[in-house]
């Protein structure tokens, strides 16, 4: 397994590859969710590139950039065990050596869900993903459904700007009690960790309400109440939107019910997709 720290090293390695290249961009501190992305990539491509880069431009001024968890040696061992061919592990200076007045703006798709409470977050995500796509030039790229809004935006980016690659959606991996795997779960105290299982239970409950034709307002109120009653967390949002367009749309063929909850040291997100039978598309 190659460890490549500069764009130049990555580009030189990339030139030697002739078959399909799979790519899994991450911020490191890998968990089983990332492992699923890597397994899919290793299975579907001749070679797989994992990038590990805690991207400063997608963190707000009061967010957890400085204390975002890192463990490069553990990540490296996991990647090697899964058959990854190259890790791209650049410094901040390597990735942001030039200044520009240009930016990629997510527009209306980022005014909902996490975009509303993390202004500028998706600008940073689109910036780094565009750069990484241009450096790695993958055939296939793998993203987790847990970061559903990020995934929807990247799908729109790739489709509308004709990036020569295919984006693959990989299902959320969960702990035994249903909590979605996340690098930030490590920030939960014991009490919060037990409570956090309620997020997925509440989303499942909400899904049942949607499927029994409940009104959107009632679904949201019910999910929110269930989280607030059974955890010490503060609900940032509960929203029900069409997916992947993220619009308010009754009876969309595919919807997303999503939530974000602040605990003492971590803001957790989770979501569930709901397919409508008999949808008025």
């Amino acid at each position: 397994m190659k460890l490549l720290k500069t764009k130049q090293q990555l580009r030189a390695w990339r030139k030697e590859q002739s078959g399909p290249v799979g790519f899994v961009p991450t911020m490191g501190y890998l968990h089983e969710g990332h492992a699923e992305l890597l397994k899919a990539s290793v299975e579907q491509n001749d070679v797989t590139v994992l990038s590990i880069f805690v991207n400063p431009t997608q963190f707000g001024p009061n967010e957890d950039l400085d204390r975002y968890p890192r463990d490069f040696e553990r990540d490296q061992a996991l990647a090697e065990s899964l058959g990854v061919d190259a890790i791209f592990y650049p410094s901040v200076e390597e990735m942001y050596s030039t200044t520009t007045t240009l930016s990629i703006q997510p527009g209306a798709m980022a005014t909902k869900l996490c975009g509303a409470s993390r202004p500028g977050h998706f600008d940073g995500v689109l910036q780094i993903v565009t750069k990484l796509f241009h450096i790695v030039q993958p055939t296939n790229a793998y993203f987790g459904q847990k970061d559903a809004q990020q995934l929807a935006l990247i799908e729109s980016l790739v489709e509308s700007y004709d990036f020569p690659l295919t984006v693959h959606r990989i299902p959320t991996v969960r702990e035994q009690d249903g909590l979605a795997k996340s690098s930030r779960n490590v920030f939960l105290n014991n009490k919060e960790r037990k409570e956090a299982a309620v997020l997925f239970q509440a989303l499942q409950h909400g899904k049942e309400l949607v499927e029994s034709e409940a009104r959107t307002d009632d679904v949201i109120r019910s999910v929110k109440a269930m989280i607030e009653t059974n955890t010490s967390g503060r609900v940032d949002y509960v929203e029900l939107l069409s997916y992947p367009n993220l619009e308010v749309q009754e009876n969309a063929p595919l919807s997303i019910l999503a939530t974000a909850v602040f605990f003492t040291k971590a803001r957790l997100i989770d979501n569930i997709l709901i397919e409508r039978v008999n949808a008025h598309a």
Copy 2:
């Protein structure tokens, strides 16, 4: 020479190429300025792709999209004679088949010069150039110095988003009397065509003033007066900025003196680069 009308056809042709691919994106109605771009590309690459696409997203609502001049057969013959290997000639529907809320924003670099009087113009330019770069995947791309602000923005786009290609600046080609070659020159009446030579004369005069340490305000006033006195056109702007950053900066190592002038049916642009000896960089 191949004529390719869909992204799929272009991508299939591109896959067959193994050496360097040169790319010249245009809106067609080719003139000697385009010919210089194509000659440079043919000389420096194994194969050359010319795209001809009058991009609607870079025209404002009151601009000349509908009457932009077109002559595909003449363009095709010229391309063939210069050794072009493939023309990409897509429809508007082919290029804009999907909707998105994403956009590439040029930011402060587009608040000056043409960006000030053509709001949204460079958003459209960056959009189509990004799409074409992803479809053609060129090794080298060629742009004319006449569209200096466009060129500066594309250089910033490529550098800051790590596009895997090199942008080449090609000098402006001029008529015998100094008028910069442009597809829009065809819209000048006889009187205006004679007057239009003054634009370059005024820029040369301005350059001499800069080189003799005149104040920026005086340079601009003098160039503007020379154009207004000797033509029937209305000056949109005369500006002196650093290049390629397009900032107000006294004593920049490289500056651009640029103008845009409205005639009856055409808005012409021209510019001249000024290198400073003994610059305080």
